[in-house]
């Protein structure tokens, strides 16, 4: 999986949000809000393709959680990003 072109994470009013940005237009009608750990994952998969495995690894590196929880959360976040249409297979 990889991040779709044109979606950029930025900080708006103290919130981490992903906004659809074209060269000319910025679409604020679809803003996807992220918490700190989701933003951490997003920032770390900018240039690379990723899957549940790599997100799990990233979570384990940054947070003190067991592998099963990390894997569960990684799977959830991928589902969510797919649903939001900000990543593609």
């Amino acid at each position: 999986m990889k991040i779709k072109k044109g979606f950029r994470l930025r900080s708006v009013c103290g919130e981490n949000v992903v906004v659809a940005e074209g060269i000319e237009n910025i679409d604020f009608s679809r803003i996807i809000s992220m918490n700190d750990s989701a933003a951490y994952l997003w920032n770390n998969v900018q240039e690379t393709s990723f899957d549940v495995e790599s997100l799990t690894k990233l979570l384990l590196e940054e947070y003190e959680v067991d592998e099963a929880t990390a894997r569960h959360d990684a799977g959830q976040i991928i589902d969510k990003w797919l649903e939001a249409g900000i990543i593609e297979k």
């Binding site: 000319e24 910025i26 679409d27 992220m34 929880t69 959830q76 649903e83």
Partner: protein, 159 residues
């Protein structure tokens, strides 16, 4: 940890912090698509349904729908009905009363509106908006009654 619930929620940000941020993006040369809230631009624009395509307002003129900061942190997207030197009079299409601000309070200008979920905007230099605007401005004397007729409560009476 990543969000625990799996639903996509609509988050509303307060206008007084969000819109200044949007204006910054406009200053960088972008156009911006913004969802619309409120009923003050009815009947053309509906609350929560439509979106505005905005650009920096370089030369605002009478008839333009503009984003203006009418007092600190209070933003409206309304139509200019009069410019007298630096003094601007605004009125929402769905309103009967006016607002007043200075020319420098006008932050952005609508160049189009995405209506009814469409992918292409009704541009403000297009025929539809111009014909609508021409009529709607001239019908101001009977606007009170038109707004009543176009009010969503009327069709409900016949259900």
């Amino acid at each position: 940890m990543p969000q625990d619930d799996n639903k996509i929620k609509t988050v509303q940000m307060p206008n007084d912090v969000f819109l200044p941020f949007v204006v910054e993006q406009l200053k960088d040369g972008h156009t911006v698509t913004l969802p619309l809230r409120g009923r003050s631009m009815r009947p053309f624009l509906e609350d929560g349904r439509d979106k505005a395509l905005l650009t920096l307002a370089d030369y605002p003129k009478v008839g333009d729908a503009v984003l203006a900061e009418i007092s600190k942190g209070v933003f409206v997207l309304h139509r200019i009905i009069k410019i007298d030197g630096l003094n601007v009079t605004l009125r929402g299409d769905g309103n009967l009363g006016n607002e007043y601000c200075s020319l420098s309070d006008i932050r952005a200008k609508a160049i189009g509106f995405y209506r009814k979920g469409r992918q292409t905007p009704d541009r403000t230099d297009g025929l539809k908006w111009r014909v609508y605007s021409w009529w709607w401005m001239r019908l101001y004397p009977i606007r009170r009654y038109l707004l009543f007729i176009f009010n969503p409560h009327i069709p409900q009476l016949f259900k």
